[in-house]
Assembly symmetry: C2
């Protein structure tokens, strides 16, 4: 299939977003949204680094790649609108696999009424997918990781570690409960778009999506907000059958496992009840899992409290023994 | 160098665009422009497919990759504002080469007051660069390839074939005049931003940038506008010392050579004088090189008239004998 036929095969006939002026088919896309702020991010995924056809179909690879990007938009409190896709295509990818890759993206895009408005397809030796997403948020309502304040409640949506658990089952065939659930959490994660969008009604909220493990993300909030944060390990939300995995892996995935694409953030105690109402309205599991330190110190650290009530310094990739 | 240090090394301390609300440093960037339309495109470049360290320094690779993207914004009549860069980095690229790559982009970005507002750096086996550019254009003033009308004048900026000539000299060392000029045209092309921006004052103009050779680009205008277009080969603009290259290559590069990043378009005869004034004001070489057919036929073709006044069908990649 030549590039022209391929572009025609993935080109949308109609666009869902009313802000589209020109989609695919000129040197660039054009859109108009004069009432909101625009949010944009890009992420790249490389075969055998970020994904493998051994554990995911091309459809899932497309779906999950776009999900990761949409999650970045959700982490800003914005609503997804557009995506642009650049793919480096090696000889060992068939036309059918490529079409499935784009179908996986389109499937998730449809859920969020996103339009594909641009992209590029080039030849290379190694498959990689680069996705740019564009979303909108009401003026001044973007949610930053720098907004945490002393005495805030630390919250997290959904459950943690499930994506890594799914990946584990795929690589370690055996007898596991709820296999399909974990596969789906790995292959087709659902970014928390509806929940994130509602957060604009809060007066303040710090927000990150969990792409690299909660320890990493909470450290980013701590650094950006210049506060210290404490996480109670025993409060971290896990799935019902999560205890079937080796205990040391459960803990590893929960704290440092990536790609659950849940949201973590902090909110004032005054607005906690209101946040719970948003979670209920958007059918989003929500849990209080820690707090921002009361005192304004010059040190900005993240601490983890384990099941034995021991408090330790929790760095991005692991615990450091104190003293 | 870890990713964190690297991001810090390329992160801008200040932003030039007043529309930036949040640049690099959160899950996504945020900007606000309530008075204009937004234009966006993405292009990906793969080592040994689109560029080689054998003929370009990392600085030039960065510069030219961004130039290609800016040219897409110019081809829409828009003004560049932002770029986001995703790089797949293999082991055989040093930290210093990477820094030079970003310096090359930053150099050109500074000329156009563009800000780097996002990106990604990932590991892989094959070097590739994916750049997303975002620009602004006054409402309804984006310039499309679909706007050509019967009896328009076909115009082109600058000179054609120089980038390919530079590439030829780099690969065929020998005695050539104006080597540095051709090297620069290959390594550091200048997208026609100032000229493109002024086109909004015309009532109508069809526009494409020449990334894949003028034959290809004029065919795109012909298809999108549903008109036939005739190009006079002998009118196509070339550099003074261009005749030093093998005659068959001169013609090949001029018609089918890519990456000059000049602009080609059509304008009504009524506004031709006004277009010439814009070219003069922005110091842009401009030449009339053909016309849109007078008649509205159902056939939409591009014809080339050669030095012997022979008219032939000029397809995207070459001539087809008529009859």
């Amino acid at each position: 299939m030549d590039e022209f036929s391929f572009i025609n095969s993935i080109k949308q006939q109609t666009y869902k977003q009313s802000s589209v002026i020109k989609g695919v088919g000129d040197d660039a896309a054009v859109f108009r949204n004069t009432s909101q702020d625009t949010v944009t991010a890009v992420d790249t995924f490389v075969e055998e680094v970020h994904f493998s056809r051994g554990t995911m179909d091309p459809f899932h690879i497309g779906y999950r790649s776009l999900a990761a990007n949409i999650s970045d938009l959700a982490a800003m409190g914005s609503t997804p609108a557009f995506y642009l896709v650049s793919v480096v295509i090696p000889n060992n990818w068939s036309d059918e696999e490529l079409i499935q890759l784009y179908k996986g993206m389109r499937h998730l895009a449809s859920v969020h009424e996103m339009d594909l408005i641009g992209g590029d397809t080039v030849s290379g030796k190694e498959m990689s997918i680069s996705i740019t997403v564009i979303g909108f948020v009401n003026k001044g309502k973007a949610r930053y990781r720098s907004s945490a304040k002393p005495d805030d409640i630390l919250f997290v949506t959904g459950t943690l570690g499930d994506s890594q658990a799914g990946f584990y089952i795929l690589n370690n065939p055996g007898s596991f409960r709820e296999k399909e659930y974990y596969y789906a959490k790995h292959r087709m994660p659902e970014p928390r778009v509806a929940f994130a969008k509602e957060l604009e009604s809060l007066s303040r909220v710090a927000l990150n999506d969990i792409s690299d493990g909660i320890a990493n993300e909470v450290n980013e909030i701590s650094e950006a907000s210049k506060v210290s944060i404490t996480i109670y390990e025993e409060k971290l939300p896990i799935s019902n059958s999560y205890n079937q995995f080796p205990p040391e892996l459960q803990r590893e995935w929960m704290l440092f496992g990536g790609e659950d694409f849940e949201l973590v953030g902090t909110v004032s105690r005054a607005e906690w009840e209101y946040l719970k109402a948003i979670a209920e309205k958007t059918h989003t599991p929500l849990k209080e899992v820690g707090y921002v330190d009361f005192s304004k110190s010059n040190e900005h650290n993240v601490f983890g409290v384990n099941h034995y009530n021991k408090k330790k310094l929790l760095e991005k990739k692991g615990y450091t023994h104190m003293e």
